[in-house]
Symmetry: C2
Subunit: 224 residues, 2 copies
DNA sequence: GTACATTTCAAACACCTGTTTAAATTTGTG
DNA sequence: CACAAATTTAAACAGGTGTTTGAAATGTAC
């Protein structure tokens, strides 16, 4: 019984690191099992398939994170008056940082995994997350909607996805960016620093005035 | 001589569509050559390797786009007073839409390819673009810097990369997003519409006030 | 029309992928 | 201890990958 737990855990630990670094598609089961020092067949024995392993790796974090987020969202929703957008976004910070208790560097790894998840395997994980945690995320959308009542629903949809892109891309290429930042500005950057830098950017973008552009589209296409 | 150009073109056309749809890593040379109706070995004969094919596919667009952007940047730099940030960003719209003259749906395909390029093969294409067009892009950074003199250089660095993430992610998952938008808000979305929606979001995010967050980081980590 | 260079083609190469099998081993339990 | 269930193991599987080869076909120039 101990051995089983041990093997599963070793696989999960090895898998999450490699997945975060190299992406899901570009990490082979042989790399994982060799780093975990277990037999190749162990993955299929314990998890069924690579796809299910990927989901198991994410579940370890999603279960904890989403439960915490749900609490926070409920608290904010209980407030009588709409919340400030920055406050709504800031609600993510604490639960995300608490993922460090799930695992060493849990926050960084989870966010990188999330990034990989949305860029590597477009359909499969998007569906998985939405299926299991769609209701929690709907509360978030509602909160943002309340804090930006002037925004049309379709505009909000796009801007929330723009924001998802910002987060996901930043986290997927987090290491590369941190290296450049250190080299060019000699500033140490941890995951917490990145999150703190992200918030004002996202808040301003989401709440930006809806603007009909300087040059209307039709004019651009026809040229001069 | 006509046959050679024809084969190369057929390969490039087939490759760009498949790359944009499925990503670079998940598109095989056999898929490409079969869609292009040429022999499998043709790719290696004409381009050398898959890696060089990827670069050739991007070059077709980058060459045109970067030349146009360079003009626009030079024009703006020649102005005596700093330009408005939105104006600086809007400079991308026209050159991007002109890529439709390189190829049918050129703009959409190029932006999707760019998205794939930054998420699929992290290192290799990032280097390629920066090596060939770093000087052009430096002018852009300078323009943004002039239009946002209050922003520290390191903050600008992060925000420009956040913006790159927004663009790249949006374009990589453009089709999925457009489908949802159509289903939920019954609004037709073309690539031009997405660009127009992006601009105010990006401009607001980049120019956001530098904000020390509501809850300081140290307090968060220690908990209560 | 012969000679040369370019381009196409089918086949094979060596390697990697996720998954399965069946035997060997370890483990928990009566 | 002995029996049975759970786990580990090495080996093979079927299929896919990018790349290379050498002969066949095509085009070009004298």
């Amino acid at each position: 019984m101990v051995a089983k737990q041990n093997t599963q855990q070793k696989i999960l630990d090895a898998a999450q690191s490699l997945f975060a670094e190299t992406g899901f598609n570009d990490t082979s089961l042989r790399q994982i099992t060799s780093l975990a020092e277990v037999n190749l067949a162990a993955v299929n024995y314990h998890f069924g398939s690579k796809k299910e392993l990927i989901q198991a790796v994410l579940q370890r974090y999603l279960r904890v994170l989403m439960a915490r987020l749900d609490q926070e969202f409920n608290n904010l929703l209980a407030a009588q008056q709409p919340n400030n957008l920055t406050q709504v976004l800031a609600v993510f910070v604490k639960p995300l940082l608490e993922l460090n208790s799930v695992n060493n560097n849990g926050t960084r790894i989870f966010l990188q995994l999330l990034g990989r998840g949305y860029t590597d395997v477009q359909g499969h994980l998007r569906w998985f997350i939405n299926y299991h945690y769609g209701r929690v995320l709907d509360k978030f959308v509602l909160l943002v909607q309340q804090s930006c009542p002037q925004l049309p629903a379709s505009e909000l949809f796009w801007r929330l996805h723009f924001s998802l892109g910002t987060i996901v891309f930043t986290m997927a290429s987090n290491e590369a960016l941190a290296e450049i930042a250190e080299a060019d500005f000699s500033e140490e950057v941890d995951i917490e620093g990145v999150i703190q830098r992200l918030l004002p950017y996202l808040a301003a973008g989401i709440a930006a005035p809806v603007f009909t552009c300087l040059q209307p589209a039709a004019q651009l296409r026809s040229g001069t």
